[in-house]
Symmetry: C2
Subunit: 239 residues, 2 copies
DNA sequence: ATTATGCATTGATGTAAGTCAAATTGATAG
DNA sequence: CTATCAATTTGACTTACATCAATGCATAAT
């Protein structure tokens, strides 16, 4: 089964992540800063995905997780009658592909929203390492559990305003954690895609953003977002 | 740190699960049938929770996962303005408590919907064992990933009929896997609770169940459910 | 520049589901 | 057996958001 000894695998991962500025986000508990110094295997594990291209497709075999180095992705599932349901947006430093673990093939399709760069991590190897490294195993489960919890943050019992406020705050939070501005960013998804994700019509998204502008909560032009009053946005999110 | 050697811990778990008819559901990949024969530590790890009692509470410290032996639970979070949001229902053979992994304290409160019996599993010990047993680690992640995926099965882009149809099918499916009838079962939750979970008013739940009755899709009286036409229900679920 | 093409915005109208209210049923206690 | 209380059902009315439609802007292609 495991032709590669796990210490060798571990070395490869160390090399791959050593110089990545995002390593603390992908696998924060797993590998100490000291462990990650060399980089020669990095390029081998790196992948460029152009805008609109698939990273993986629903029903295709599951082998890898992907850590986003740069860019962004959406995942969606295609329903019985052919309509898409967007299930998530993914930003730099975030892991994606977990949806394939169980039946062994992906439950969703992942598409790049802009030209993006990802690191490919063989899931089996990652698990092997996780069983060796204190905290990594737990961290992977934490990612999954948090993702599940957050799903209810943007949820069925919230109205359109609250959903959009929460969506913006979620993006803001995530950009901030990655060292980007928490109040000024470009959306890489359309109104249509936001609406689909939140269960709203794109017109509703547009109207509510207009309302937020009128209220002085934010400025926006097309996909440029500038949040002016995070506190007010939080109040709106709560209702 | 680990005063107990992991082989000792493993023995305890074996003993706890050896005679439980649900072991194949809780930890199917982890422990072979042969491994689980003795039972003397079982009672120690078993817990009875009466209807309406808490299994764990939001913001309380996270240490344990719970495997349901009998009964059922709901989990909910309390929003900023004090309203509840039900985040899940849990049936025999299912694990709950994962919500606490990340910040180290629970994100939701778990309440018994009827008198229930659960097994308490120390999460740290479970992880220790998972790193030893081929497949268990992966299985735990699979549970989490599936749960996340399923969240979109009952989702924002579906109307009231579809949500309720999907909810019933989900219950049916889960009862079936546990060896219970797939078409006849008692709901342990109120219309109010179903509505809260699905983002609908309890009146809407009531009305749509009435509609399903008229259509001959099911018979229901209070909380007794008898699904007559699973195929039709599936069609409704898809729209 | 000029036309195409897709996305965003804004307005007018319709509808699914929420809210409010009352009636019915069932469970529990006295 | 009757009273009480909660859950469910059903009806009348309201509303938030969807849908349909038209217009305004961008970016890209000619």
């Amino acid at each position: 089964m495991n032709s590669q000894p796990s210490s060798k695998i571990l070395d490869n991962i160390r090399q791959a992540c050593g110089t990545c500025s995002l390593n603390s986000l992908c696998l924060p508990m797993g590998l100490s800063h000291e462990e990650m110094l060399t980089l020669d295997q990095l390029v081998k594990r790196q992948l460029i995905v152009n805008k609109g291209e698939y990273l993986f497709r629903m029903e295709h075999h599951f082998d890898y997780l992907y850590a986003i180095r740069a860019g962004s992705f959406k995942t969606f599932l295609v329903s019985e009658k052919g309509t898409d349901q967007i299930t998530g947006f993914y930003l730099p430093g975030e892991l994606l592909g977990f949806d394939g673990i169980e039946p062994g093939h992906h439950q969703v399709t992942a598409v790049a929203l802009e030209t993006s760069s990802v690191c490919q991590l063989k899931f089996d190897e990652l698990l092997q390492i996780a069983s060796k490294i204190q905290g990594l195993q737990r961290h992977l489960m934490a990612i999954l559990s948090q993702r599940f919890n957050n799903q209810f943050t943007i949820s069925v019992n919230h109205n359109a305003e609250q959903r959009i406020a929460r969506f913006l705050l979620s993006l803001s939070e995530r950009f901030k954690r990655r060292g980007y501005s928490a109040d000024t960013f470009n959306l890489t998804m359309s109104r249509q895609e936001i609406g689909n994700y939140l269960g709203l019509a794109n017109e509703t998204v547009s109207r509510i953003l207009a309302k937020f502008r009128e209220q002085g909560i934010l400025e926006s032009h097309q996909r440029e977002m500038h949040l002016l009053d995070l506190r007010a946005l939080q109040m709106t999110a709560c209702g």
